[in-house]
């Protein structure tokens, strides 16, 4: 594994690299499988860096993201994934929700 997987100025987010996941299915699975304190810690760490992260990423088009920027981009998508858990539900899954494992994403 390369020593730095994220762009240099975002090395402080390296500890969250496990959230750098390409598909919604993977991100959703990780959210559902994580403890709320881990989700909240990731949420807070990411939220604090989002303005900088999105500004940094705006220099690239989606199709031409370098690998390190792409990993950072996937972290921003994981923030979108966990946001409702923190902001709306206070738990990983939708409170009184349908079984999300049975709600199958047919997109990537």
């Amino acid at each position: 594994m390369p020593e730095t997987r994220l762009p240099e100025q975002f090395r402080d987010l390296e500890q969250w690299i496990g959230w750098s996941l390409e598909t919604e299915g993977e991100r959703s699975d990780r959210r559902q499988a994580s403890a709320m304190e881990d989700i909240t810690a990731f949420y807070e760490a990411m939220l604090a860096r989002m303005d900088e992260a999105l500004s940094y990423l705006e220099q690239f088009s989606l199709e031409e993201l370098p690998d390190d920027a792409r990993r950072l981009f996937y972290l921003t998508l994981s923030l979108a994934e966990v946001a409702p858990a923190v902001e709306q539900f206070g738990q990983p899954s939708v409170v009184d929700g349908y079984d999300i494992k049975r709600f199958v994403a047919t997109h990537r």
Binding site: E24, L47, M50, D51, L54, L57, E58, F60, S61, L62, E63, L65, F73, T76, L77, L79, A80, E81, A83, P84, E87, Q88, F89, V94, V95, D96, G97, Y98, I100, R102, F103, V104, A105, T106, H107
Partner: protein, 429 residues
């Protein structure tokens, strides 16, 4: 329609203000809905024969099959068939029963792809993209085979605004434009094509009657309760605590409801970020520019989105910047394939893609709240403990839907009562 100065719908429903939607469509009456329509096998068989095998059904969008030879398979258990939908060499969309003319085997066993011919795996009979029988192995050993009469069996197909509809009736009594009627006319000009360059779609086989699912998505009465966590202040406000809708328009079979969007909405930190970088479905600022007359029909500043319920089981719910659909395909009386899809303009920047991802996740989690009710409801319906259900004035699309189904199962023309109501409504005006 009355509205308070800030655009909030007046709480006109109820005895004091008159029953707003009932007064507009009095022919629907005020009676309860019979509980057994959700559990009766006999009712389901009638729905199969008199509704699903007779009307136009949405099976997807043209973006799924952009090039000649691109195809997908739509299983239609409710119509006792499976249909191949293919882009022909002529560029047009064709549909065929997924069945070989030789001995009936299903031609396409997969869910879609790209091909030059459809070749049966059983004995190798091969059909062109136009359905014509092109090749029969060892043809000389057949007896008087008339290949020109043995093509795939066509299914009526037409496209409206990029939405593909099929009709398994060998002789449909209406064209697709006739079927969609004024609902479609009002939506034409909405940038469906532009907004459909990216889609995110989920599907689930639900142990519930298709109408249980449909009804859950065609009323606003539940919002303040079922969605109190996910969207506590998007569709409700101090002045409109029960999310009363802005407007309702019924057609002989279809129906539309224009939903209130609250100025009290306070975006969460991530919602704020998403709104800064792109579109999300529920937003507090938008422009009316370019919207066709059927979208936000009252041109209300307190608008969020419109539900457009295309009979029997397809929703095209439009907002500013994106839209979503729900499709409910019955499998059996208590089993339904539920598909929800959110459509966007393809993002070219990471920020916009992030914004869309937030929109996806929020949408998915909200409908997970809806989804929980389906099987919880169906599981109790079978008890038979309740014989009928009572509907709120804001549940008029539910009332209308059951009324239309009832008429069609009885073989009554759906337009007659509606036309009579139109006269009545005009005389009240």
């Amino acid at each position: 329609m009355s509205a308070t100065p800030n655009g909030t719908p007046a709480n006109g429903n109820g005895a004091a203000g008159g029953y707003k939607w009932h007064n507009k469509y009095p022919h629907l009456g005020t009676g309860p809905v019979s509980a057994d329509v959700f559990t009766s096998q006999e009712q389901f068989e009638l729905e199969r024969e008199r509704i699903f095998k007779k009307v136009w059904l949405n099976v997807g969008r043209v973006e799924r099959i952009p090039n000649p030879g691109d195809y997908f398979v739509q299983d239609l258990a409710v119509c006792n068939t499976s249909v191949i939908v293919v882009r022909g060499k002529d560029g047009a969309v064709h549909a065929f029963h997924n069945m070989c003319s030789h001995r009936g085997n299903k031609i396409a066993w997969d869910q879609g792809g790209t091909c030059q011919n459809f070749t049966c795996k059983f004995h190798g009979w091969s059909y062109g993209l136009d359905g014509k029988l092109k090749f029969v192995p060892d043809e000389e050993s057949f007896f008087d085979l008339k290949k020109e009469t043995l093509g795939l069996t066509r299914v009526a197909v037409d496209v409206w605004e990029g939405f593909i509809f099929i009709n398994v009736d060998p002789n449909p009594t209406e064209t697709l434009p006739e079927y969609l009627g004024d609902l479609a006319t009002g939506l034409e000009g909405y940038p469906f094509g532009e907004f459909s360059t990216t889609s995110t779609s989920w599907t689930s086989e639900v142990n519930a009657n298709w109408k249980v699912i449909k009804d859950a998505f065609q009323e606003v009465y539940h919002i303040a309760f079922l969605h109190k966590r996910s969207i506590p202040d998007s569709f409700t406000s101090k002045d409109n605590p029960y999310a009363h809708s802005l407007d309702v328009t019924l057609y002989p079979r279809h129906g539309s409801m224009s939903l209130f969007g609250s100025a009290d909405y306070k975006p969460s930190p991530v919602a704020k970020l998403a709104a800064q970088h792109g579109e999300i479905v529920i937003r507090s600022d938008f422009s009316m520019d370019g919207l066709p007359a059927g979208v936000n029909p009252l041109r209300s500043e307190a608008w969020s989105l419109d539900l457009n319920v295309i009979f029997p089981a397809f929703f095209v719910d439009v907002s500013q910047g994106s839209y979503f659909t729900h499709q409910f395909m019955p499998i059996g009386v208590d089993k339904t394939l539920w598909t929800s899809t959110q459509y966007y303009t393809r993002a070219t920047t990471p920020g916009r893609r992030f914004s869309q991802e937030y929109g996806n996740v929020i949408f998915r989690d909200i409908i997970m709240e809806d989804g929980r009710t389906f099987e919880e409801t169906q599981s109790m319906l079978s008890s038979g403990a309740k014989k009928e259900f009572y509907l709120h004035d804001e549940e008029i699309l539910v009332r209308h839907s059951h009324h239309v189904i009832d008429q069609m199962l009885k073989g009554q023309p759906v337009d007659a009562a509606f036309a009579a109501n139109g006269k009545e409504a005009a005389s009240h005006a």
